[in-house]
């Protein structure tokens, strides 16, 4: 495998991991709101969370470009305030990947939060635990299997994201050209087949490793309850 191919794999991993790292807390909050709270506009939030799943990825990417591009309303503010830009940079690829993975993160977390026995939280309160401690010692550990499932699913999605990424940050080698984009480009090139195949194999292996790792963690989490 060539140096370029290795760097493509590393870039993809960086983009996908960054995407999940930032999307996970937000997804948890959204899942918690959907599972535990009643508020006006809840169905709207539910719809917004699902949107990236049902919209054509190109549309999502275009939306990002309009909002976060160098001339978009949010992009301009970020640039002016922090000198930070998503446009045509790997951070933009991460934003696109995180957004596309978001619905896949929220759903399993929400389901596992709904499955947490509220009676255990009540018991925790009578034992003197503050709300924060109840969350840290009961709610979070008991919903961890859902968090793991969501994170794995989201990581796989982020790794393979194509449409929104290419629309938002284009296909720039070394900056925004992730695995899927590189495979696509190589398949357009006359002599690219062999390199494309190597990258395809790499992406299969990475996805497989992620799923196996998540299964292993899930087993460990479960194993704690029955040693």
């Amino acid at each position: 495998m060539s140096e370029v191919e290795t760097s493509i794999i590393l870039l993809s991993a960086k983009v996908a991991l960054t995407a999940i790292l930032f999307a996970l807390p937000v997804a948890f909050l959204a899942a918690w709101l959907l599972a535990r709270r009643e508020f006006p506009g809840k169905s709207l939030l539910q719809a917004l969370v699902t949107l990236p799943l049902v919209l054509p990825p190109v549309v999502t990417g275009y939306g990002l470009l309009v909002l976060f591009g160098s001339r978009g309303p949010i992009g301009r503010v970020l640039d002016a305030a922090f000198g930070f830009s998503f446009a045509f940079r790997w951070t933009g690829a991460a934003l696109a990947a995180g957004l596309m993975a978001f619905p896949l993160l929220v759903r399993p977390i929400r389901l596992s939060l709904e499955a947490v026995d509220r009676g255990l939280e009540e018991a925790s309160a009578t034992l003197g635990a503050s709300r924060l401690m109840i969350f840290a010692t009961v709610t979070l550990p008991l919903s961890l299997p859902g968090v793991m499932a969501g994170a794995t699913l989201g990581f796989a999605k982020a790794l393979g994201e194509f449409g929104a990424t290419i629309t938002f940050v284009s296909n720039i080698p070394g900056e925004t050209q992730t695995l899927s984009l590189a495979i696509y480009s190589l398949l357009q090139t006359p002599a690219g087949d062999a390199a494309a195949l190597r990258l395809i194999l790499a992406s299969v292996l990475i996805a497989l490793a992620a799923v196996l790792a998540s299964e292993w963690v899930a087993r460990r989490l479960k194993g704690r309850a029955s040693p």
Binding site: G119, L120, E122, S124, T126, L127, A129, T137, P227
Partner: protein, 361 residues
């Protein structure tokens, strides 16, 4: 003085609650049918359900006073709550469950961990996880966890109801040990007369969210007139006494009840033990005077307080040292002996069982 005072009005779901009662040290049973609102009242004391209007105070601290706008959070009420279904944390070991209030709840440790573990026989369970425990073991851990939360009141919500009959028998001695050494009020919710008779010092009967009767277990459950005695069963008397001495033969104990003495076999008792004796009315015969030549040793001087005919049999309620004892005799005997209220009589007690024993002052 009452250590716990409750006066609450409100509703939770389908229950309308309007209840006022007090509880001193020892075990107070909230007794009533399922669905009477007992658990709701318990949760109002714990602070996980809020009554519309009311006042709850315990140990000199006001938990709730809607007039003054006081409503302490469950966290700061310092109660120990034992739930019907245990509610152990499945992801934590028994040890971590037991000490939960200390590491997650920041409750000060005033009771030694080892002491509670020994009291409830948990020594071998500490490294296990709740999933691997039997129902009875789980409930013992749940009781230990509540005790280790340094509670000022212990609230128990039918802790035996999720267990089968045999497991209940296993847990009851532990509950008795907890009740016997508790320096705090224990509120025990139950719909089982047997449990209440064995554990409670005081009973508050709840019906449709209201207090309909309060009294000793004997008043509420034992008497012929008690609404909760099973209709056609002979009434049961519960007599509280104290082990005074061993008889010279070493196998008979003398139990002092007021200024009278009862005898019963009991090699495992110690002088000073407080005992609750159970006497079934069908085991009591009546005589107009004492008889030296009878095998029955417990011949108790009583005064008849009530005579109630039930067809062929007659239930007689008598005052014995300020406590009530019952006899069921044939109505023919009752007529021949001319039994009537106020009359002095001797109760010949054939069989006495020990309902409860506590070591104690």
């Amino acid at each position: 003085m009452n250590q716990l005072e409750v006066d609450v009005t409100g509703s939770a779901g389908r229950f309308a609650i309007r209840a006022a009662f007090g509880a001193g040290p020892g075990v107070t049973a909230l007794f009533g049918r399922s669905g009477a609102g007992k658990t709701t009242i318990l949760k109002m004391i714990a602070g996980t359900i809020r009554p519309g209007v009311g006042r709850i105070a315990a140990g000199g601290r006001v938990f709730l006073d809607t007039k003054r706008g006081i409503d302490l959070s469950p966290q700061s009420r310092n109660v120990g709550f034992v739930f019907q279904d245990g509610r152990l944390f499945p992801h934590l070991s028994v040890q971590r469950n037991l000490t939960y209030a200390r590491w997650a709840g920041r409750r000060r440790a005033t009771r030694r961990f080892e002491e509670i573990v020994a009291l409830l026989g948990l020594e071998t369970l500490l490294d296990r996880f709740p999933e691997t425990l039997s129902g009875g073991e789980r409930q013992r851990v749940a009781i230990g966890r509540a005790l280790l939360a340094e509670p000022e009141i212990l609230l128990m919500d039918e802790p035996l109801s999720s267990l089968d009959r045999q497991r209940r028998g296993e847990i009851l001695p532990y509950l008795e040990a907890v009740a016997g050494e508790a320096r705090i009020p224990v509120i025990y919710v139950s719909h089982e007369p047997e449990e209440v008779m064995r554990l409670a010092d005081h009973v508050v009967v709840i019906e449709d969210g209201r207090v309909v009767q309060t009294g000793t277990p004997a008043d509420v459950l034992g008497g012929a007139g008690a609404s909760y005695a099973r209709a056609n069963d002979a009434p049961v008397a519960l007599i509280d006494g104290r082990v005074a001495a061993f008889h010279e033969d070493g196998e008979t104990v003398e139990v002092a009840v007021g200024s009278s003495v009862m005898e019963l076999p009991g090699a495992d008792m110690r002088p000073g033990n407080r005992v609750r004796l159970r006497i079934d009315a069908s085991e009591v015969a009546l005589a107009t005077r004492c008889h030296e030549e009878l095998s029955i040793r417990n011949q108790l001087p009583c005064r008849i307080t009530r005579v109630e005919s039930r067809g062929p049999v007659t239930d007689v309620a008598m005052d014995f040292e300020g406590q009530t004892i019952f006899a069921r005799v044939t109505s023919r005997s009752a007529r021949l002996l001319r039994l009537s209220p106020g009359q002095e009589i001797v109760a010949l007690v054939r069989a006495v069982s020990v309902e409860r024993m506590r070591s104690g002052q």
